[in-house]
């Protein structure tokens, strides 16, 4: 069970949240020039590291606001929580770099 620090509501248990998958994905553009392969990758292919994963979470049963979480996928340890518009922090102690 994770204890997740919502930036607005404080520490709450994981049941109140939903994980929205990989963060920092940008839509390829302009659309007319994007190849089928690139478009398929944008829709379906996600980073799947055994290490720190940068992902979006929403406080679904709370303030309903989105934020970013850097979480280790093998230990589930949360390394950082940061706002949606912020860039991903890099390098954590003892964590695998992406």
């Amino acid at each position: 069970m994770l204890l997740i620090h919502c930036p607005w509501c404080g520490p709450r248990e994981e049941l109140e949240f939903r994980c929205g998958g990989e963060s920092h994905i940008s839509r390829p553009s302009p659309s007319a020039t994007v190849s089928d392969t690139d478009w398929g990758n944008y829709l379906f292919t996600r980073k799947n590291p055994k290490g720190v994963h940068y992902e979006r979470w929403v406080h679904a049963f709370g303030c309903r606001r989105w934020f970013n979480v850097a979480r280790h996928t093998a230990t589930h340890r949360i390394e950082a929580i940061y706002a949606m518009h912020e860039a991903a922090p890099s390098a954590f102690d003892g964590a695998d770099a992406l």
Binding site: M1, E14, L15, R18, C19, G21, S35, D36, T37, W39, G40, N41, L43, F44, T45, R46, N48, K50, H53, E55, R71, T73, A74, T75, H76
Partner: protein, 471 residues
Amino acid sequence: MRRRRDARTIRPFTSADDHCPNASLPCEECLQSSYPQTYKQSIQFCMEWALDLAKLDYSGWRVLREGFRGQAGWTQAWRDPAPKPAYDVIIVGGGGHGLATAYYLARNHGIRNIAVLEKGWLGGGNTGRNTTVIRSNYYYRESAALYDFSLKLYEGLARELNYNVMFSQRGIITLAHSRHDLEAATRWVGAMRVNGVDTDMIGPAEIARRVPILDMRPDARYPVLGGFMQKRAGTARHDAVAWGYARAADALGVDIIQQCEVTGFRRNADGSIAGVETSRGLIAAKTVGIAAAGHSTTLADMAGFRLPVTSYALQAFVTEPLKPVLDTVVLSLATGLYLSQSDKGGLVIGGALDLYPSYAQRGNMPMARTVLGAVAQQYPSLGRVRLVRQWAGIVDVVQDSSPILGATPVPNLLINCGWGTGGFKAIPAGGTLLAHHIATGTPHHLAEPFSLSRFSTGALIDEAAASGIAH
């Protein structure tokens, strides 16, 4: 005796298509050709049979004999060889799919210079962590053909491998809890029957008769309005499937190398695969096949291509042994709970995926609570039964809940991944199809729709709904 006779005289199958349509009942042609036709053949048959007995392979006679000898005469079922410097084919992953691939390469295609590399122990990944359900009740034509092919191979597997995989066709019942569930179920059953899969709608009375422990009261938390059943579905002994394939592959000359982790791929100048770097040194190979569910993307990252696969933990639970209370498999559309009883008496319990990507083979408490809560709500008499084990396997989740089979962007590197929560049921098919592709250089027609290219062409096979568990 029928088994020995068939095994000895049926012509060898040359490809997967060559199998009898019903592997548990050999076709007329096979039977005809397997019976001794002349006096001389009869004598020869009897002599071969006597020789088989003398060799004392796995048989009822051997079990009896060892019973009197304190089980002292059994020998190691497969070798533990050191890796050779080079192989024709290397399979990464010593689980069911990898071992089956090696076996069918050797048996169907005559390729014997094969190594199976396993980073841990044989069958210690998802093959040893699933809930052993085998079924083919899928919605789309492509999936039904694929999974029914697998089910048919399972029906003849124990005989083929001479290893009891304990495949028990006890059927699977899928429960509908609302009018909407019922309508969806009716539609699925229609599609499945068109695809040649044996499914039938069944009513509440029939369900109550078949599953007496299920809460059928009208005011139950999850009232049961009906459901559908595939009678040919069932369960098998998961370890036996891995061990049976391992023993049979080893007998055909395949090197099964455990404690040998792949750490990288060596490439030729043209980009094709030259070999694999492992924790036990560099091993050259002409072709490499990957069957390493859970870590498919880890290997793809090493080889320099991307897969639309995300790893999630799927939990399972086993209770203390009970007297027989359930002789089928039951899946609930409302809770995602599925339940069966093993031959030892333990109830084997599974449910939905954990809620976020994970490589931790332990599972998380919220999903455990959801799944076990569903057991207590749907089977009130099991509410106080104690668990003896809980674990999780790491599964490959793909957007359309269908596997990815065949070529990768790297020449001579093929993959079998993306089976999601249902890889165990597909082991014989996954092995056959990957072996076919490695041996012939072209995908098997059953595997063609499941190529990696479907994610750029858009020809997805979306089984997310039809598989009964949302992911």
